[in-house]
Symmetry: D2
Subunit: 350 residues, 4 copies
């Protein structure tokens, strides 16, 4: 055990944090040495998350109580806006620490965009410059060298894995991209909100944050890189009566004479050697059921009825590939481990 | 009781038929005199649908056993392709009967389109000419005079109520309309299929019939009328882990300089006096939970992030306004009753 | 409208209150004149419960704002412990008012039992003496004459309808009755609690308040009446991943030489003329799906494997027969209306 | 890979078989060499279970096509009644093979009881004599020496783990034990049945096989051993609107002056060193959510309201500890592996 990498998980009392703990406990190279939870500090994890009672874990503490020199890696699963100063403090105390941030605090490279969407000035601009966007399949080398990785939001993960090669290859036009996304309720966190009660969110669905969700600028940032010029997307998420899982249906115009088959080939080529991202054949329809509980991604491409258009469907588990799993994938790269280590659990179905 | 209108329900062993029976039993002007169910003939409704055991009902018989002279109105909830010859036989036996068809058999006015999508020649072309498309709010007068009404599919009901005034008003462009629809599993009927099992369809979602669903030509037929020229739509439905409810998210380009507010105003104007269709204010998000079990419809209009685009969201209960309720609404018109009779149950929430 | 009975609903921002409003809006003899909601006062019902936006309703006010002389009947859906003084105030202001209480405040006739289970002295003992226990089928005459009716809890409704005739007939022994109950999450109310989130309560189940639920003394009070002597029950409720519906599985010893068939006959005889309570045949299994959204009750009786024992299964919709529906049934009796008025909606399935 | 244990899975197209494959693929000592599926033979597993598309697997074949000499261990997940002759044939072809049967075919030691409950004579009586009942915690040594292990049914697993130490210790009386069990729908298998559709089984619950379920004699067989004399149990399962998970609420009479705390201590003592079975403290309530997807078991003991009675609550994942996981636990013992190998995945929550 002494040569394991010592990790801390900030925000272990939320779903993202607890799913990271679930995976970390069985990761052969990790040793969990500290867990924080703001309102739950002082409680045992077995009390806060009884499904984790079967393994020994440190009790929850506050962030202030953590000895940063005692950790090699920190996973942050804190609410956005709270992480910037904490991460600055971590590096001040322990410059050799590596931080994998699952919050939104370092995802947007443009401070003005950050301010516009999050309502306040960014509080750690130098670190923002240093942070690497943690979409593993597209920033692998930079992640391996990084000290601070900003993992993508769940929706950007699903949407960008589908759309970056589509746009970068030129097969899909960068204009008028429509992203209709659907997510289970864990995406909204563990705070008790009326609209997330089983009695309210069960047996029904609705869109939310229509054309105004904070994950839109993140998608635009990365797709603009892929397109080589600025673009705007139409993005509307929907709340689905289930716990886990996320599906993006992206409607695009084909360009450069490409067919849907060409677009599919472009994606298949981009992900040919990827361990977690699979582009399915024409006759296979991605389902969130196919990836539940796993770090795997399925992407399918379909010709639209309107000539010259195509539909790209991608599915992830929002808590794994959409958050904790991708964070561990990045951790593995940052610490020189095999990228898939601790992440090969197969999807659980039913 | 003697002056009640005598009705028959064909296909009463399916969800559409049984929901019609549920509503018909409490309709003040209806008397249910015959119920058919192909494989269930000979059984009592209480046996086939125990929730209907609390009211007296005739046992299920086969279609061949029905005396068409004993019914004034026939509701058809049969699988598509089986209804054409039966309805022809009904009118041959009883020319004064009125038929409200909930199947797809008479919805498409162009026989070639029918053949293309349903794989066989239409078998009752004269009746097809006579049939009125039963989207009540847009064909009210013709329905009132009709002998045969072809009720819209559930997806066309939700999509067309949102899009016909949008296109007809000129506020939305008729090109590149993207309709991303979501439905509970009752839309797929009561036949035991593996993919509809709770263990398979629960806790997950997926699209199906991507850009290839039979409701697309129906939408195109009616939107082409609204636009004054032929158009094609992008339409992809998704199977949602819930029983009832349907939501359409339609992505449109604004035209003629219209804003999203103008588009909302056009819809609000179109439905100002409608008893069942409500255009909600800018700050209200339609949810299927808001209409469950009822004949009501909610439609919301939202500005998109991409300038010059808008998003229209509409919700219905797929078995009520999307099928049995709209059929009764049409029945009321055809028999000179108050249009809302028997249909004012409020949504059930939770 | 002027000769309608003017009603007020206290606690209209909860599930019990809103379901009462849903039913009252379509009740031919009721006019809703006032609605209260503590934290929601000042808001419209359409805002608090969008599914009720399709009918005109007064805005929510505080209890203090109500003019008690302007109402003929008051339905109370307030949290327990808050109702006693309010009802005393209502009668002080308007002695002719009739009150149908859906809270627990007047259900227990023994003030000591009340204090033991609710942790404080009863604050309206005289009214407690006057209150009639509102289990309609067993207190019909007294309810018709009452000014104050204390409607049973949802679990007692399901359990007592099954067990009172069983015990009173002598077919079931009063000792060692085991009641294993299962309820959807609406029984826990609309307050946002973590354990009721879809992500927590969905896809799983657990018992709660094991052998310590406040509905136990209510069952014991009424079963002791039926048995002619004091008894204690084993009662454990379970939280089921669904919104509505409640099922009681009661395990009893047969007595006096009775068989399960005798026990079934005793129940069938007791409810022979009841409009809402149906004892099903031996080969029919009650399901909550069979009564969802309705005021109906199904009860089945089955022989146990252990000789001399039987199992009684009863199902209700916890918000209708378990609360708002039974309250209206009592209202109908108290105001001399037909008992089933406004309550004949059939169950909604699926 | 050459020194891995070669396994075959019969019935890999069902839920039990596929969950075994899911776990076996990540078991360090197993190599899956053959998979059978009666109606699905010839198809790939990726086609039949898309969630398993992320790992290489042999295609499904029929049982007749299997070379039994090419396998060291066979897991049988076939429907009951079909397994006896197949297992006899396996041993005839390969006497060194070891068989872990997940069906009901070898669970009942008394052939008359088997015939009574399954409707035909047992077809492999000699093997029945040899078979060891695979409730790991209670037959560990015999399992380690066995060639044929008959894994318990899911309900017996949950019920017996709770009740064997209760009865064997003398703290609970062997008479009038009432077992009220609740299970998700996967327990009923993957065959498309109407009552298991999401639209039918969702949002509602019901008991089934009341006092007549085939798992009752299995419980009685083992509890009679524990009690030292024959006994009969009251056992009623309920179908819960969820996929996975099983909960038993057992109502018992205390005996020999034991308290509920004594009973809890007896269970805690019995399972003190068990890796998968945890007796929780008095203030913890077992939930199926706490063990989902894992081989873990939680058991809680509670005092009843009726003096001299207690309630034991146990939870498992019906597909893992209730079937595939327990089968692998037995495999590990039979092949001299560490008992927990391949089974330490933590529960997935939400």
């Amino acid at each position: 055990m002494t040569d394991r990498i010592r990790i801390g998980v900030l925000g272990a009392s939320g779903y993202t944090g607890s799913d990271l703990v679930r995976l970390a406990l069985r990761h052969p190279a990790m040793e969990i040495v500290t867990l924080t939870g703001a309102t739950q500090a002082g409680r045992s994890m077995a009390d806060v998350f009884p499904h984790l009672a079967f393994a020994p874990l440190p009790d929850l503490v506050t962030v202030d109580e953590v000895d940063w020199m005692a950790v090699d890696a920190v996973f942050c699963g804190l609410p956005h806006g709270t992480t910037q100063e904490i991460i600055a403090a971590i590096f001040a105390a322990n410059p050799k620490a590596k931080v994998i941030d699952m919050s939104a605090d370092f995802r947007l490279r443009n401070p003005e965009t950050y301010r516009e969407w999050y309502g306040h000035e960014h509080r750690a601009l130098a670190l923002q410059d240093e942070a690497v966007y943690g979409l593993t399949e597209h920033y692998r080398d930079a992640i391996a060298r990084a000290r601070l990785v900003a993992c993508p939001g769940c929706y950007p993960t699903a949407a960008l894995l589908a759309l970056i090669p589509a746009v970068a290859s030129g097969a899909a036009a960068p204009d008028d991209i429509v992203i209709d996304a659907k997510s289970g309720t864990t995406g909204a966190g563990r705070s008790a909100k009326q609209n997330l009660l089983l009695a309210e969110a069960g047996e029904g669905l609705s869109p939310y944050s229509i054309a105004a969700h904070r994950h839109a600028p993140e998608m635009e940032q990365e797709l603009s890189v892929a397109a080589g010029r600025a673009l705007t997307v139409s993005f509307t998420p929907h709340l689905i009566p289930m716990s886990r899982g996320e599906l993006c249906t992206a409607y695009v115009k084909l360009s450069g004479g490409a067919s849907a088959a060409d677009l599919r080939a472009a994606l298949a080529s981009a992900y040919r050697d990827e361990p977690f991202v699979k582009v399915v054949a024409e006759d296979v329809i991605p389902k969130t059921q196919n990836v539940r509980g796993s770090n795997y991604v399925q992407i399918g491409v379909f010709a639209d009825r309107i000539p010259g258009r195509a539909i790209i469907v991608s599915v992830i588990d929002n808590l794994v590939k959409g958050s904790a799993g991708q964070a561990i994938q990045n951790f593995n790269l940052m610490f020189g481990r095999v990228e898939t280590e601790g992440l090969l659990q197969l999807p659980m179905f039913p």
